[in-house]
């Protein structure tokens, strides 16, 4: 898809492109060829669901892209199922070679195999959680589409400027979203997705630590421990300094006003 005259990497440019695509998608949904009646309503439901469902893989045009960040530090979430399937087939994409999910961990590679199997299980759990969350978003989108259909059925809709219709769509989408986002189902699906991504990330980190260790590079776990020790020492030092420092009451030098403006200020 061309970014046209706008910078595809700027939200402003992406929003402008989204606006134009909105006009096109809406025109298609409302075209006489869509059939009118129930068919048009269904077209608008699909229109809404597509905007929300796309959020899952970071291609959303209408603002739901923030959800994709959870997967951002990882390889594309859209490739999850493929990666897991490749590993399960023993396609040679991993050091564990043909170690599929259920193979017993035996031999000198046992520990590595366990870590790869954990990675695979986490990836599969992640794919399932992503699918569940996408379903929830898709349902909200369909609801938004229904609300939008109601709006478009109002008498003034045919004469309304495109921008007004766009803002109406945003209103329908946001209100449908808010109604669902406070609910238990959304919160649970959202949390499962986030937790699954973090678990998968942790499984990857365990493998990365192995690789670092093999090359004599300090692992993240080791650096973490060092930093924790440094922090404890800093805390101890600050505590001793606080104990030996005079308190504000004994050092007070009352001064009512700040110094007047000097030449130039660091900011």
């Amino acid at each position: 898809m061309s970014a046209g005259p706008f910078d595809a990497f700027s939200p402003g440019g992406a929003a402008a492109e989204a606006y134009v695509r909105f006009a096109r998608a809406l025109a298609e949904a409302l075209a006489p060829s869509a059939g009118g009646g129930a068919a048009t309503l269904e077209a608008l439901r699909r229109f809404g669901a597509a905007q929300f469902g796309a959020a899952q893989v970071g291609t959303a045009e209408f603002g739901a892209a923030p959800f994709a960040f959870w997967a951002a530090p990882l390889p594309g979430a859209a490739g999850l199922a493929d990666a897991a399937a490749a590993f399960a087939r023993g396609a040679g994409a991993t050091p564990a070679g043909g170690a599929a999910a259920g193979a017993p961990p035996l031999g000198p590679n046992r520990e590595h195999q366990l870590k790869w199997q954990a990675w695979l299980a986490a990836a599969q759990a992640c794919a399932a959680a992503a699918q569940e969350f996408a379903l929830v978003l898709g349902e909200i989108g369909a609801t938004a589409g229904e609300r939008y259909a109601t709006r478009l059925a109002e008498p003034d809709a045919t004469s309304a400027p495109l921008r007004v219709l766009f803002d109406d769509w945003i209103e329908c989408a946001e209100s449908a979203y808010q109604a669902a986002a406070h609910g238990e189902r959304f919160c649970a699906a959202h949390a499962r997705y986030a937790n699954a991504l973090v678990a998968w990330r942790a499984a990857q980190q365990a493998i990365a630590d192995d690789a670092a260790r093999a090359f004599g590079v300090p692992t993240r776990t080791e650096v973490d421990e060092l930093q924790r020790t440094v922090r404890e020492l800093q805390r101890e030092l600050a505590s001793r300094r606080d104990a030996s420092a005079p308190t504000a009451a004994t050092t007070r030098k009352p001064r009512a006003s700040a110094p007047r403006r000097r030449r130039r200020a660091p900011t």
Partner: protein
């Protein structure tokens, strides 16, 4: 439904016009380059780790009031309070004759991974309070958002050190029905999240904040750029705001974990079960005069989350100041221009804790 008959040619003309305006806005934005923020003159007077205590240079005749120490949040940078000369809470306070200090937590790196909530509140914040008291004797503590939560906790632990307390858009009760962030947070495994990320990326928080209102914040607000295509000043203001929103420091991992679990999941501040350094944070011990400023359309910290302070605080001199607008708008809206004056008036009218009797 019956498909309404739309005028395709009219839509096409509108879309074309919009594209042209959006293009002009993009070109103007490119010409503007980097906008300046936080320009009010100041001096660093104390530093530890990534945190710096600044003192602003006076701009008016002293009002004879104790200095104001601003404790900002760890989330985002504090120049929102001094975004531009004509939209600056800090400049407004200086012009009202107040002496202003700002605690800027800085941008934590990996070395801050194990900094705790107590390190921030009873450590750095306490030492900044001591620094200001050593110069002036007493102070007003002004906490903003999460910084307000820190300020409240500090005032409860060290009430004798805080003459007056101002909280701005500060969450206190994290479990009110409107609090969407808290609902989402309840199911998140923060132990695992922090163990995996270490410091929590500012980008992740931004993604969460945007997803609270994804359509308005992700798309609709950028369409407004086209509306301002021929107004460079409006575009510059937009850029300043945009810079602030996405200039998000990573969060020290341990502090984030503690804060999210204690406040967002267990609601410990409101429940009176929050502990720092083994000491219970009891808001009944906040007996100094308190002014609670909240935003009426705040989607990040709902008014109900802030206003819960009224029933929890021990002060006899508790007041609220509602401001029309959202979490950020209260600093930059036209109504915000009166805010420094309102704060100065309240400070002038309220006796400090030293002259305030405890609630019987």
């Amino acid at each position: 439904m019956n498909a309404p008959a739309f005028d395709g040619a009219k839509w096409l003309a509108e879309a074309t016009d919009f594209q042209q305006r959006a293009l002009r806005a993009t070109e103007t934005l490119a010409r503007l380059g980097r906008v300046e923020v936080g320009t009010t003159p100041r001096d660093a007077v104390h530093a530890e780790g990534t945190a710096t205590l600044y003192r602003y240079r006076s701009l008016a005749k002293p009002a004879g009031l104790p200095p104001v120490l601003i404790a900002y949040a760890l989330v985002n940078r504090p120049y929102m309070l001094d975004l531009q000369p004509d939209r600056s809470l800090i400049r407004g306070l200086l012009q009202a004759g107040l002496d202003v200090y700002l605690l800027d937590w800085g941008v934590p790196g990996r070395a801050e991974r194990w900094r705790t909530l107590a390190d921030h509140v009873t450590g750095t914040l306490h030492r900044c309070v001591e620094h200001v008291r050593a110069v002036h004797g007493e102070l007003t503590l002004l906490g903003v958002c999460q910084g307000g939560t820190f300020a409240l906790a500090y005032a409860a632990l060290e009430p004798a050190n805080v003459g007056r307390l101002i909280t701005m858009v500060t969450p206190v009760d994290f479990h009110t029905p409107e609090n969407l962030l808290a609902k989402w947070a309840r199911g998140i495994d923060f132990d695992a999240l922090v163990a995996s990320f270490g410091n929590v990326p500012g980008e992740l928080l931004n993604a969460c904040f945007l997803s609270l209102m994804p359509f308005r914040l992700g798309v609709q607000k950028y369409l407004a750029l086209a509306d301002a295509a021929d107004d460079p000043e409006a575009l510059a203001n937009f850029l300043r705001m945009e810079q602030w929103i996405f200039d998000s420091p990573d969060q020290p991992g341990e502090t984030f974990r503690e804060f999210m679990q204690a406040c967002y999941q267990r609601n410990a501040l409101a429940a009176g079960t929050l502990e720092l350094d083994g000491r219970r944070v009891d808001l009944q011990r906040v007996t100094m005069p308190v002014l609670n400023v909240y935003a009426t359309q705040d989607h990040l910290v709902p008014p109900s989350a802030s206003r819960a302070l009224a029933r929890l605080v021990g002060s006899r001199h508790y007041a609220e100041l509602p401001l029309e607008g959202g979490h950020i708008g209260i600093y930059v809206s036209s109504r915000a221009r009166r805010l420094p004056r309102d704060l100065a008036d309240w400070l002038a009218a309220r006796p400090s804790a030293r002259r305030t009797r405890r609630r019987p």
